[in-house]
C-alpha cells in the first residue's frame, strides 16, 4: 500500500514538473519570437539603410526632386515637432493627472473622465490629424505650421502621459503625504515638494512611449505641419516643416521615382529610428539622474 502511494506521489510530482517545464518553455518561446521579430526589423532597416547614410545625407537638403541629396530639413522638422509635442503634452498631462489623483473627489464623474481619456488613447491618429486641421489650422488660423503640428501631436500623446503620470503618482507611498501633511505643510506644497519629485522618474518612463509616438506619427502632421518639400528651414513656429515620417510616406508612395529612391527611404527610416532612440536616451538619462537621490 505504501509503495502504491509512493509511486502515485512520484508520478504526480513528475506530471507537475512536466507541466511546469511546458509552461516555462511556452513563455520562453514567446519572448524569443518577439525578440527575433524586433531584431529582424532593426537588422533589415540597418542593412538596407546604412548605405544611404553619409555626412551629406544628414546635413544637406534634398535635391533633384528629392531623388538625391540629404534629409536635413526633415530631421530638424521632426525634432522640432517632437519637442513641441512634449512641451505641450507633458505639463498638461502631469497637471491633469495631479488633479485626477490628488484633488478630485473620486466618484462616478471622475471615473467617466478616466474612461474617456483611455478611449482617447485608442482613437486612430488620423482623427487627431483631422481635428488639428479643423481646429488649429483653420479655426485658430495657425495654418499648417510647427505650432499646429505640435499641438496636434501634444494632444495625441496626452492620454499616454496622463496614464503614466497617474500610475506614478499613485505609486508614491501614502505615508509620505501623511507625514508631510501632519507637519502642517499645505496640500499643494506636499504635492510639489514630496509627491511630484518622487513620481517624476515614473512619469518620464511612461512619457518615453509618448515621445516615440509623437516622433513617428504621420497622419496627425500630414494636414497640420508637414510640407511635401521645402529646402528652407523654418524661421518661426508658424512655418511649415518637413518631417521624417511624412517624408518616408511621400518617397514611398507619391515620389517622382519610387524605385530609385528605395535606399533613401531606408536611410530615412534608419535616421528616424535613431532620432527617436536619442530622444528616449535623453529622457532615460534625466530619469536616472532624478532617481539617484529619490529612492525609498
Amino acid at each position: 500500500m505504501e509503495d502504491v502511494m509512493k509511486s502515485f506521489k512520484n508520478n504526480s510530482m513528475k506530471w507537475r514538473y512536466f507541466k511546469q517545464s511546458l509552461f516555462f518553455g511556452a513563455v520562453r518561446l514567446s519572448t524569443l519570437i518577439i525578440a527575433l521579430a524586433l531584431g529582424g526589423i532593426l537588422f533589415y532597416i540597418i542593412v538596407n539603410g546604412i548605405g544611404a547614410i553619409s555626412w551629406d545625407f544628414i546635413t544637406k537638403p534634398p535635391t533633384d526632386s528629392m531623388t538625391k541629396g540629404g534629409i536635413m530639413p526633415a530631421i530638424l522638422g521632426t525634432i522640432y515637432l517632437t519637442i513641441g509635442a512634449i512641451a505641450i503634452g507633458l505639463p498638461l498631462g502631469i497637471a491633469s493627472a495631479i488633479y485626477l489623483t490628488e484633488y478630485a473627489k473620486q466618484g462616478r464623474g471622475i471615473r467617466l473622465i478616466k474612461v474617456g481619456i483611455n478611449c482617447l488613447a485608442g482613437v486612430p491618429s488620423v482623427v487627431f490629424g483631422l481635428f488639428g486641421l479643423g481646429f488649429f489650422v483653420i479655426f485658430m488660423k495657425f495654418g499648417s505650421s510647427i505650432l499646429s503640428g505640435s499641438l496636434t501631436l501634444g494632444f495625441l500623446i496626452l492620454p499616454t502621459i496622463i496614464g503614466a503620470a497617474e500610475e506614478a503618482l499613485k505609486a508614491v507611498p501614502q505615508t509620505f503625504r501623511e507625514a508631510s501633511l501632519s507637519l502642517g505643510v499645505s496640500k499643494w506644497q506636499t504635492i510639489y515638494r514630496i509627491v511630484l519629485p518622487n513620481a517624476l522618474p515614473g512619469i518620464l518612463t511612461g512619457s518615453i512611449l509618448g515621445i516615440g509616438r509623437a516622433a513617428g506619427e504621420t497622419a496627425p502632421i500630414m494636414f497640420t505641419a508637414a510640407a511635401y518639400f521645402t529646402a528652407k528651414l523654418p524661421g518661426s513656429i508658424f512655418d511649415e516643416v518637413m518631417a521624417l515620417p511624412y517624408h518616408i510616406y511621400v518617397l514611398a508612395t507619391a515620389g517622382t521615382n519610387i524605385e530609385t529612391t528605395r535606399p533613401i527611404q531606408f536611410g530615412t527610416v534608419l535616421v528616424l529610428v535613431a532620432v527617436v532612440l536619442s530622444i528616449d536616451l535623453i529622457a532615460i538619462i534625466i530619469r536616472g539622474y532624478m532617481r539617484k537621490n529619490k529612492r525609498w
Binding site: R177, A179, V185, I194
Partner: protein
C-alpha cells in the same frame, strides 16, 4: 484643574460613511501628561487620535459630530484651517516614514515650508535631533539619506521632524509596534523626557507600555470610551469589569 486640559472632547461621534466608528466620546487630555489609548483592534483609538490633528479629513466620506476643543477653540469650526492645527499638533506614525531626503532635509522640511523663523535652521536641526536623542548617532552623516538609518533611528528621526515644528501636542500612533525591544526602550525613555515640554497622546497595543509610560489611560471598546482614569488605577483596580478583563488578557 480645568486650565490643565489642553484638549477637550464633547460628545464626539465619528462616521466612516454610514458606519459609526466613535460614539459619544467626552473626555479631556491634560497638559504635559502622557495619555495612553488602549483597546482591541478596531475599537476606534487610532481614529480618535487622527481626529485631534484632522488627519481623518484626508479620507473621503467621513463625518464628525460634536466638539473638539484645542485650547478652548473648536478645531472643527468652519473658519479653522486644518493646516494650522497640524502645526500645533504633531504626529508620529506606526511605521517610521522619513522622506527620501537627507537627514538634515527631513528635519528642515517642515520649518522651511511653513515660514517659521528660519534664520537659524542649523541650530533648529541640531536642537530637534538632540531632543529626539539621535544627534550623537547622526551628527556626522546629516547629508546622508535618511533611508539608510535603522528602523529605530528612523522613528526617532520622525519624532525629531515633528518636534522641529515646535508643536504643543505630540500624537503617537503605535510608535514602537514596528521596532525591536531595544529601540522601543529608547523611544519610551524619550517619551518620558519629552513630557516635560509636550503633551503626549499615544495609541498602543502593548499593555506594559501603557503601564510604563503613561499618566492616564483610556480604554476603548467598539467605539465607546469604557473607562478613563489614572494609569495606576486602571492597571490595579479598574472600575469597569470589561477593562479588567481586557487588561488581564481575558479578551481582546
Amino acid at each position: 484643574m480645568d486650565s490643565n486640559n489642553i484638549i477637550k472632547l464633547n460628545k464626539v461621534n465619528f462616521y466612516y460613511g454610514q458606519s459609526r466608528a466613535l460614539t459619544d466620546i467626552t473626555m479631556n487630555f491634560r497638559k504635559n501628561k502622557v495619555s495612553a489609548l488602549i483597546g482591541p483592534s478596531g475599537c476606534g483609538k487610532s481614529t480618535l487620535l487622527r481626529l485631534l490633528n484632522r488627519m481623518n479629513d484626508l479620507i473621503d466620506g467621513t463625518r464628525v459630530e460634536g466638539e473638539i476643543l484645542f485650547e478652548d477653540k473648536n478645531i472643527y469650526a468652519k473658519n479653522v484651517d486644518p493646516v494650522e492645527i497640524r502645526r500645533k499638533v504633531g504626529m508620529v506614525f506606526q511605521k517610521p516614514n522619513p522622506f527620501p531626503k537627507t537627514i538634515y532635509n527631513n528635519i528642515s522640511y517642515g520649518p522651511k515650508l511653513t515660514s517659521m523663523s528660519t534664520d537659524d535652521l542649523d541650530a533648529l536641526v541640531e536642537q530637534s535631533l538632540k531632543q529626539a536623542v539621535l544627534w550623537d548617532e547622526v551628527k556626522d552623516i546629516l547629508n546622508k539619506s535618511a533611508m539608510n538609518l535603522s528602523g529605530g533611528q528612523q522613528q526617532r528621526l520622525c519624532i525629531a521632524r515633528a518636534l522641529a515644528m515646535k508643536p504643543d501636542i505630540l500624537l503617537m500612533d503605535e510608535p514602537t509596534s514596528a521596532l525591536d525591544p531595544i529601540s522601543t526602550a529608547k523611544i519610551e525613555e524619550l517619551i518620558e523626557e519629552l513630557k516635560k515640554n509636550y503633551t503626549i497622546i499615544i495609541v498602543t497595543h502593548n499593555m506594559q507600555q501603557a503601564a510604563r509610560i503613561s499618566d492616564e489611560t483610556a480604554f476603548f471598546y467598539l467605539g465607546n470610551l469604557v473607562e478613563y482614569n489614572k494609569t495606576e488605577k486602571i492597571f490595579t483596580n479598574p472600575d469597569v469589569k470589561q477593562t479588567e478583563d481586557y487588561i488581564t488578557g481575558r479578551f481582546g
